[in-house]
């Protein structure tokens, strides 16, 4: 490969996060951009992180790249691959070098120690022992350094961690083996020590690599998208741009249609429709009048509007929410996972027993005391625990990722098995989170439909927009409607064919419908009415039924109004006493705090405070970055069925861990007792130890590889696929 910098001055490479990249075909399409767009020199995709590195010839062609990517049907966002990414990369390479050195040395040591075990004598034995020693030195000083460093930091700070017994065994084993080597009697354990270091490094590397690959970049996307804002210059009255950080109190800021407000402020334009769902969870857009407050993070659904800046950054309402979130995350006491606890408790016990036995028995027979207690420590090394449980977890994480579930903390997987209550948010979780046409209550003829379309076409109201979107798919005759007038709060009226038409909202008393209805009147007579609202996701109802069969208690919490929430709850079969509406984020939080073992599935920043307080929290796709920050688990696919898969995986993972624990308990107790009685010498211990590790590893592999998901789930998927086929 030719070095890109030898061809003169090039603009620095850019990194993009690319959404929607799934298969090899997508990869080729994206990398092929380098042949199609001028100015782009090389596109290199990293599929495991969903990012693309782009090199340019001379000038920066970010815009061209972005355009081409979106033309291909993907979404790209430029990200700053900061120094931490580079550091991680270097760290990974270093660990891999450590593993390589340990593996090479271990293999060669084994060659010599096998000859010695087989009975090499005299000068051969002498040289083989010394060669083992020399080969062990790189393992000790290079490969095992992370463990020894943990040991040193324990001596300094006195905070315990699971690496301490490992460090202790390495140090003790080395000292003893070296002593035996010099005094030319007794056993030498360089082979088992090297194997120990190698296996431990491998399992750690596997775990960290999986965590880094799937967790880092997806969360790098900034929270409020706009990095620069357009503002009206107070002197020249011209529109100019400046970075968001430089916005000060009183600036007049222009926000275009579809953009998110970057600041809290007063509206200067006469009206604006705002999607407030980030703060309220309510899908129906709110109308804001001149002088009223507009909050950062909400979305402008009307045309371009001007806003007078009042608060920016951390001081905005959303900023405060995020700050509170950070505190929540830090105040959460991290549950030390089952593996850590067991390994710590276990190793302290073993070391304690070893020393106690040595102290007592050394008065009887000093050499034998050393041999037996060392055999115990080698045999009962925590490697079975420290190796197999992280492996089970990482394999389960992998399995989850393949089903579109990203788990931020491995302990969340463990906590899922303890869940008894499941709390759903409504907007964007059980529903699609968008205003859509639902159904006609009274379907009009084609001409009336066309009139309706003409009337609503120019309206800026989001309900009108969703109706227009639906109607524009139908083939309708063209009608010319005259005298179209929009009266705020009244609806739209116009004249066609000498009839007076009017569209307005229908208010039905005592209606349980979760939808908003609008009606079309011809000369004061109702000729059409339609339901509009937020559609429930297809898989939601079967999912909730299955969860209820699995004996979970389902709750529905929402900030939306009672009528809408209860209507949806009813459709999904959630009992009325488990439905709570019109809750503020703080109320949601206090509700969840009262419940033990609560799983919260939500979306949007208004849930994130509540999510941070819950036992396990899940964010579904399309949710705010803030929600991802607070939640433990993220559903990458637009599919609530992931929840069932997640529960299955968590269950299997816990079972495998338990099986491992049971095996290692039996093994350690029997072998430990035998070692103390003198039936197992350190040599046999060094053979048994890797064998036990191998057994435990096999248990983990078998336990996590063949996870079957519930059959009903598969049927569901099939049905959905059929639906998709019909649609296309």
């Amino acid at each position: 490969m030719i070095n890109s910098n030898t061809l003169g001055v090039t603009s620095p490479p850019s990194t993009f996060f690319i959404e929607g990249m799934k298969c090899s075909k997508c990869l080729f399409k994206i990398e092929n951009i380098q042949n199609e767009v001028k100015g782009i020199k090389k596109v290199q995709v990293d599929m495991s992180k969903s990012i693309a590195h782009v090199n340019y010839h001379y000038d920066n062609f970010d815009q061209n790249f972005l355009e081409q990517v979106s033309a291909l049907g993907f979404q790209a966002k430029k990200i700053d691959e900061d120094k931490s990414g580079q550091l991680l990369k270097n760290e990974n390479r270093k660990t891999l070098n450590r593993i390589g050195v340990a593996a090479a040395c271990m293999g060669n040591i084994m060659l010599f120690s096998i000859s010695n075990y087989a009975g090499a004598e005299g000068s051969y034995r002498f040289w083989f022992d010394w060669l083992s020693f020399l080969l062990f030195l790189p393992v000790l000083f290079y490969s095992a350094r992370p463990f020894l460093q943990q040991g040193v930091s324990f001596l300094k700070t006195r905070t315990p961690n699971i690496d301490i017994p490992i460090a202790l065994v390495i140090v003790l084993g080395t000292l003893l083996s070296t002593y035996h080597l010099l005094s030319n009697k007794g056993d030498i354990y360089f082979d088992s020590l090297a194997a120990l270091v190698f296996l431990l490094l491998c399992s750690r590397y596997l775990l960290t690599r999986i965590q880094q690959t799937y967790l880092s970049t997806n969360f790098m996307l900034p929270f409020i998208e706009a990095k620069t804002v357009k503002y009206a210059d107070p002197i020249s009255k011209k529109i100019a741009t400046k970075p968001i950080q430089q916005v000060v109190f009183g600036d007049h800021i222009l926000i275009q249609a579809g953009e998110k407000f970057p600041i809290d402020g007063h509206l200067i334009s006469s009206t604006a429709y705002v999607n407030m769902s980030i703060l309220t969870g309510e899908t129906i857009p709110e109308k804001v009048i001149q002088g009223q407050m507009i909050y950062a993070g909400t979305e402008n659904l009307s045309d371009d509007v001007l806003v007078e800046s009042i608060k920016t950054g951390d001081h905005t309402r959303v900023g405060q929410l995020i700050k509170q979130l950070d505190r929540e995350i830090h105040s959460k006491t991290p549950l030390t996972s089952l593996a850590d606890k067991a390994a710590q408790w276990f190793t302290l016990l073993i070391i304690g027993i070893g020393f106690l036995f040595f102290a007592l028995y050394s008065q009887v027979n000093f050499d034998e005391a050393i041999r037996r207690s060392l055999a115990l420590i080698i045999l009962a090394c925590p490697c079975a625990l420290a190796l197999a449980i992280p492996l089970t977890q990482s394999l389960s994480l992998m399995k989850a990722i393949k089903s579109g579930i990203i788990i931020k903390k491995a302990e969340a997987l463990e906590r899922i098995t303890k869940i008894t209550n499941i709390v759903f948010d409504k907007t964007g979780t059980l529903t699609n989170g968008q205003f859509e046409f639902i159904k006609w209550q009274m379907e009009p003829n084609k001409i009336d439909k066309s009139v309706l379309l003409e009337l609503e076409k120019n309206s800026r109201h989001p309900i009108a927009k969703s109706l227009v979107q639906f109607l524009s798919h139908e083939q309708l005759p063209h009608t010319e409607v005259l005298q179209i007038k929009e009266i705020i709060g009244q609806g739209v009226s116009g004249v066609f064919n000498q009839h007076q038409y009017q569209v307005k909202a229908l208010w039905q008393k005592n209606s349980n419908s979760p939808f908003t209805s609008i009606g079309l009147y011809r000369d004061g007579q109702l000729v059409a009415s339609a339901d509009l609202g937020d559609k429930i996701k297809k898989e939601a109802a079967p999912l909730i039924k299955q969860l209820q069969q699995l004996k979970y208690k389902i709750f529905l919490l929402s900030g939306d109004n009672q009528r809408v929430v209860e209507g949806i709850g009813k459709q999904l079969g959630i009992p009325a006493e488990q439905i709570f509406s019109e809750l503020s984020p703080e109320e949601k939080q206090s509700f969840i705090k009262q419940k033990n073992h609560c799983l919260m599935i939500g979306d949007g920043a208004n849930d994130s405070v509540a999510q941070a307080s819950s036992f396990v929290s899940i964010a579904v796709q399309g949710s705010m970055e803030a929600a991802l920050k607070a939640s433990d688990i993220y559903f990458n696919k637009h599919d609530l069925n992931s929840l069932l898969r997640l529960i299955t995986i968590a269950d299997r993972s816990l079972k495998t861990v338990k099986r491992n624990l049971a095996f290692s308990a039996i093994y350690n107790i029997t072998a430990g007792v035998l070692a103390l009685l003198g039936y197992i010498n350190p040599l046999v211990a060094a053979v048994l130890m890797p064998l036990s590790s191998l057994t435990v590893l096999t248990i983990s592999l078998l336990g996590t590889t063949y996870i079957q998901f519930p059959l009903t789930n598969k049927l569901n998927n099939l049905l959905q696929k059929k639906d998709l086929i019909w649609k296309h």
């Binding site: 990869l27 080729f28 390479r93 070098n97 050195v101 090479a104 060669n108």
Partner: protein, 65 residues
């Protein structure tokens, strides 16, 4: 058994040559991304470009049958 005097150093030297090769490969970034190259291998667009003429000939021959 004297053969060991040669065998052991040769075995060690060979072993460490491969270790050196591994470290070189690792430091030059060959193991940074293990997912994408597996997919990239399946792309035969570049084949099409170089073998375009041959392919056309092949297509003609199949259509004539």
């Amino acid at each position: 058994m004297e053969a060991l005097i040669f065998m052991v150093p040769i075995a060690l030297a060979l072993g460490f040559c491969f270790l050196g090769a591994f470290i070189w490969a690792n430091n030059s970034g060959q193991f940074d991304d293990l997912v994408t190259p597996a997919h990239r291998m399946l792309n035969d667009d570049d084949l099409e470009k170089t073998n375009n003429n041959e392919r056309e000939v092949n297509n003609e021959s199949t259509t004539s049958i």
